[in-house]
């Protein structure tokens, strides 16, 4: 606590000859900013500012929820958006708070670092004149060895000791301030780690269907979503390719997942070719990236044979709908269907598409809308056929997982039938073309990331913890001993031999100081019984209230 009382004094510069208003203002603002009160207010603001980040959907986490919010609250949402409420943790005001806080922090610890470095080198101070004024005080017969013997006892107890003639000054517990400074410095290092990660890190998400034809290489175009830090270019991405060879999943009877494993083949210029397994909780670690398994599902393999007899195969992933039975929805589009082999011309209004619901375990009876179990116990594919202009040529980016509903609404695409297919079954459409459900492939949802700040983050978190404990549990305190010649006039109880006066000063909140003081006094006077008594007393008594004065 005294630490704080010291601080403004040491920070105050020497008086100037000509007071400069602006300088004075700056100095005052700086002092204000680095004061504990400001730090407290900023901490509080930081906590408050984080709340909307948990209450409102955030773009970085769930962009689709943000869109929903815009639909549900058409008036409020744009206004919230303007103040950054959907990107709280990147917003100007959130950043302002933590940057101010960290400025305050730096301003706060720099002078303390300097003072502490000085204190570490300095010797314990001269004993105060009146030891009886200190919170702890005792008078006892001086031990045989005088001040030197006292110093010996203290050194054994790892005090920093200074003997000045008949006086001994000792101090202990620098660890508190060391820990405190280490902790606060680590906080800054944590922020640096986070900043490095966001500048130089990158990430991408994509689905990967099993099989050699579906392998992908680590380029920006290959990701459905990619985020590159401001200091990263597409060319900086490490070059490697991944192929999903096998995916295993085990489920409980309730449909709850129990075990996953994905086996991939890695190769590419930046990675040695090899086969590797990874899973939830144990990502695939590559040299400059990590690959995380985030999800999985089925990609139905659908073969369409058009009326000219030409076939094409689609094995696009069907996206899971979120139930435990892995009911999935998706689209198999054949924009190149029904090209007349005679003319080679594409008929833009005879493109084919099938939307479908895939049920790994279809119920025994209709409706066939929900799968009952996540593995393929009774697989069934519920298809709806569409013919017409799919709208893929118009240059409007469409989703590969959904039929463009505008084309349906405007009548450019027409529904031509629905049918439930089992594996291997064929459905002949009105124009004689055929669609077959050949089987399924597994796919996995992957996140590929690189965060160059993570090591700094981890190391600084370690220091942060160590520093925190030193700061919370360290206790700075001083004791002073003064050997006095006996005063014969006073009739001392020990009959003429010299006396020693002892004082103790805890420099930080330390309720147990009185006990420690008593133990030291006992040890110095060689009274082991007293030491024992002090030991047992330390545990059992309620000293909290009475020791208040010791602060």
């Amino acid at each position: 606590m005294t630490v704080l009382d010291d601080r403004p004094e040491t920070a105050a510069p020497a008086p100037r000859r000509r007071p400069n208003r602006l300088l004075a203002l700056l100095r005052n603002s700086w002092r204000q900013l680095t004061s504990m009160r400001t730090a407290l207010i900023l901490l509080f603001l930081l906590a408050v500012a984080a709340i909307p980040g948990s209450v409102l959907p955030q773009r970085g986490i769930s962009p689709e929820k943000v869109n929903e919010y815009f639909v549900d609250h058409p008036d409020l949402a744009p206004r919230l958006d303007r103040i950054g409420a959907f990107e709280v943790f990147g917003s100007v005001w959130f950043s302002a708070i933590y940057l101010l806080l960290f400025t305050s922090l730096i301003g706060c610890i720099t002078p303390r670092l300097r003072d502490h470095a000085r204190a570490m080198r300095s010797r314990p101070p001269v004993a105060p004149k009146r030891l009886q004024r200190l919170p702890q005080h005792a008078v006892l017969p001086a031990p045989a060895g005088g001040a030197a013997a006292v110093a010996e006892v203290l050194r054994k107890r790892r005090w920093r000791v200074e003997v000045r003639g008949d006086e001994v000054s000792a101090e202990k517990g620098y660890l508190k301030e060391t820990g405190n400074l280490l902790f606060h410095t680590s906080l800054i290092a944590v922020l640096i780690g986070v900043a490095l990660g966001s500048w130089y890190g990158w990430s991408g998400n994509r689905l990967l269907v099993a099989g050699a034809d579906n392998a992908f290489c680590n380029t920006r175009q290959q990701y459905a979503e990619a985020k590159l830090g401001p200091r990263v270019d597409s060319e900086d991405l490490p070059r490697f390719c991944l192929r999903l060879d096998d995916f295993q999943a085990r489920f409980l009877a309730t449909g709850q997942p129990e075990f996953f494993n994905a086996r991939v083949t890695v190769d590419g210029p930046d990675e040695p070719t090899r086969s590797a397994d990874f899973s939830v909780n144990s990502p695939l670690r590559l040299a400059d990236a990590s690959v995380y398994l985030l999800g999985h599902g089925y990609a139905p393999v659908i073969r369409y044979t058009d009326r000219f007899g030409r076939s094409q195969v689609s094995d696009e992933p069907f996206l899971t709908t979120g139930d435990s039975g892995l009911t999935s929805e998706g689209l198999a589009a054949f924009p190149d269907a029904n090209v007349d082999p005679a003319t080679g011309r594409r008929a833009p209004d005879e493109q084919m598409a099938f939307t479908g619901i895939y049920l790994p375990t279809a119920p025994q009876q209709a409706p066939f809308a929900r799968s009952e179990y996540p593995t393929e116990r009774n697989p069934a594919l519920n298809l709806v056929a569409y013919r017409g202009n799919l709208g893929l040529d118009a240059g409007i980016p469409g989703s590969i997982y959904q039929l463009d509903q505008r084309q349906v609404r405007t009548g450019k695409v027409k529904e031509v039938g629905t049918k439930l297919l089992r594996k291997g079954e064929t459905w002949t459409l009105d124009d004689g073309s055929k669609v077959e459900f050949l089987g399924t492939e597994r796919y996995v949802t992957l996140s590929v990331r690189h965060d160059p700040g993570s090591t700094i983050l981890l190391v600084s978190c370690g220091f942060l913890l160590v520093g925190l404990m030193g700061s919370l549990f360290g206790r700075r305190r001083r004791v002073f001993f003064r050997v006095m010649p006996a005063d014969p006039a006073e009739g001392s109880p020990t009959g003429g031999s010299s006396l020693m006066e002892v004082g103790g000063l805890p420099r930080t909140d330390y309720p147990g100081f009185a006990d420690e003081f008593a133990q030291i006094v006992a040890a110095v006077s060689g009274d082991e019984r007293a030491t024992d008594r002090a030991d047992t007393d330390a545990d059992s008594s309620d000293r909290a209230g009475v020791r208040e004065g010791a602060e």
């Binding site: 407290l40 005080h137 990331r449 983050l457 913890l465 006094v521 007393d537 330390a538």
Partner: protein, 326 residues
Amino acid sequence: MSALSDNLVSFAILAYLVAMISHAVEYALGNARTRVAAAPVRELVGAGVGGGGASVPTPPAPVPPSGAAERSARRARIAGLVAVGATALAAVLHLAALVTRGIAADRMPWGNMYEFVLTVTFIGVAAWLVVLWKRPSLRKLGLFLTLVMVLLVATAELVLYVPIVPLVPALNSYWFVIHVSTIVFASGIFLLGAVPAVGFLMRAGYEQGKRSFPYTLAKRLPAAVSLERLTFALHAFAFPIFTFAVIAGAIWAEAAWGRPWGWDPKETWAFISWVVYAGYLHARATPSVKRNVATWLAVLGFLTMLMNLFGVNIFFTGLHSYGGLD
């Protein structure tokens, strides 16, 4: 085994109820003077080894109690001992319920909110017994603690109860044990810390002469300074553990979800709690901030912990909804 665990929880609630009632009886009968005076006398012996000890104020000599007062004081003490005994019994039943639940599930019993609350409350009560053992004079705080126990454990049993299921793979990792055990432990200590914090706020008001409703409850509580000390000691103990738990959570999140920190609602509220508790420690270390302002921050910190436990699980969906994949 699972049914046994459920029964043990019910018995534990009963035992907490008995403890609470006994504490209330002690409270009603109690004559604060007799015991408060007893403790500091021993105190003097310790401080006075060197012969000086001048700084320790001498407590007023105990006033010899009159006959009737003495009888009611004796009864109060018996009620207090019964309360402590019932609390200890309840803690044993509580522990047994957790152990049997763990055996039945074949894993650590921290897989869902029900088990989580059950474990946090157990840590709270176990830590309380340790505090009681070290500072018997704080016993009267037990009334508030057992009240909290009854409320939370009963809420767990009546509202949050779920049958045993194994863990989803996202939770199946040794980080689960490290992260969750430390979070549970820190939460339990924070839970216990909130009790003297509230007690201090009431008692400090009472000592300043406030005699309106919540303050009068504190009439027989231990002295405000000792409550405040206990509050700080518990929070200072729990804070590094909580910090470690959050860091462990970040390490685990990196392995499971590919990022150490993603501002998922649970993470956001853990951040908020951490910042509020850091604010408490700062405020307490700042002489210019009044102790009751600082203590309010501790109470606020606990409210944010509650928000994270109940609010986030119920109102928000995030990766932490114990779903993991899909």
